[in-house]
Symmetry: C2
Subunit: 246 residues, 2 copies
DNA sequence: CCTTTTTGTGTCGTTAAGTCACTTAATGAT
DNA sequence: ATCATTAAGTGACTTAACGACACAAAAAGG
């Protein structure tokens, strides 16, 4: 029998098909006390109640117009602010990752300065920053540990050909700070000269005119990212790279 | 009231929440007659009935263990084979892309040799290869046109630092063939010497010993990809690159 | 004023891509 | 057979950008 589209849409029942659960899980990183940290929340409900996991949740069909909206909403709920960097990471979906059902989670990598949300986080007990080093000792809900490792690996790649990691720093930062962050991400030391040269040549940062004095030694210049600096990719990777795919 | 996890899981009703539609949409490319082509199918049902679109569909919770399984199953249904290259592209989700409901589609980029599925495709009327050039003139279902442009852009990026596009060629291919494919993807001519040198140096291909004779001129050596050659990324991009993100 | 510490620069070496002429190996015409 | 034509493949030099490392600059503290 022939049906026209109008009739079809009016009688369409999406619950007639067996569908998976869909969630959105942002992985929010920051840089604090010389460590890369990730934001985790303690689960209030089942499943995996009381365990720590990513600050994600379900799409609110009424309020969220896009998947990014869901990611930003969840992050705002937990941190009080929206991060300056948010990019889709990967979508994980299989029959076993969630005890309840076949489940799909759309994951995002997000970066923010520690101070940006420190005040808000201090007010709640079920949200905390966890250093990557501590993660191995902390069993997480679902497959969130694996997801965080994926996000971390993607961020490592970005450190080879971009200054995206700078979004994990405060608005004003020094080049030694940025270099140290990259070194931790890459797990290897970098040549000061090479690191500075390429950033200078690409004109990614602007001098704020200010300096930051350490306890001793020459004070470092404070820079700010120019608009679009995060989107820039160098033509050449920093070396020592182990080359994986995407 | 307190509930233990066992009880929670037994009484969990996933239809209680308002959930989006979830689909999987592979974008399968091939190289044929000096053109990049994409596989499209004519929709048999609503919505957008009769229009052409990506060879995707819904997850079969019983048969598919993972999202990749869904992508491969849909491709096998339409081409008779599974492609040698399949990688997740991006997940698109918003309130308006599907007339029926808030909808999420997990998209994949796939590559295959034209000959690999030519026989099977010839047997069915609702599946065809469409050259990228023709796409502008062919309005597609949903937001599939946008999705294909995304996939095409990602493939262009890969042509800068990998030989992934080789999966769109037959098992045995010549270096001039591969270079021409890259040139079309990048939209710019490449230096023969540079192109060959980096591939040779990384030892990505193996000589089959055979040659392919054109109508005139010196015959080209036929190569085969070594295992893992697709995962290799060069440390340096081919130049002229316009550098985007992602 | 001199030592220590950290930031920032000058300079040369090295690597891999860019350029382009030239050789090689085939076809086909005279 | 010889030679023009065509396309594949190589040789050799140039160029761009990172690697390495010494050295200069700017602060603190005794």
């Amino acid at each position: 029998m022939q049906t026209d589209e109008q009739t079809y849409l009016e009688t369409y029942d999406k619950t007639a098909y067996d569908a998976p659960i869909v969630s959105v899980d942002p992985v929010l990183f920051t840089w604090h006390e010389d460590q890369l940290k990730v934001l985790l929340v303690q689960r209030s409900g089942h499943p995996d109640q009381q365990m720590w996991g990513l600050p994600g949740g379900f799409i609110d069909l009424k309020r969220d117009a896009t998947l990014e909206d869901t990611a930003m909403r969840k992050l705002r709920e937990k941190t009080g602010v929206v991060p300056p960097y948010l990019e889709q990471l990967h979508t994980f979906g299989n029959a076993t990752r969630d005890k309840r059902s076949w489940s799909v989670t759309v994951c995002y990598t997000a970066l923010i300065a520690y101070q940006e949300c420190a005040a808000h986080i201090a007010t709640v007990a079920d949200v905390r920053w966890v250093a990557m080093e501590e993660l191995a000792a902390l069993p997480l809900a679902f497959d969130h540990n694996m997801i965080i490792r994926h996000a971390r690996e993607r961020l490592r790649q970005k450190a080879l050909y971009s200054i995206v990691p700078a979004y994990a720093l405060p608005e004003k930062f020094t080049l030694p700070e940025l270099q140290q962050l990259h070194e931790v991400l890459l797990g290897m030391p970098l040549q000061k000269k090479s690191f500075r040269r390429r950033i200078e040549q690409a004109e990614l940062l602007e001098d704020t005119g200010e300096k930051r004095a350490e306890s001793s030694g020459r004070p470092a210049t404070l820079y700010r990212m120019k608009t679009g600096a995060g989107a820039y990719t160098f033509l050449r990777n920093l070396s020592g790279a182990t080359d994986n795919e995407e």
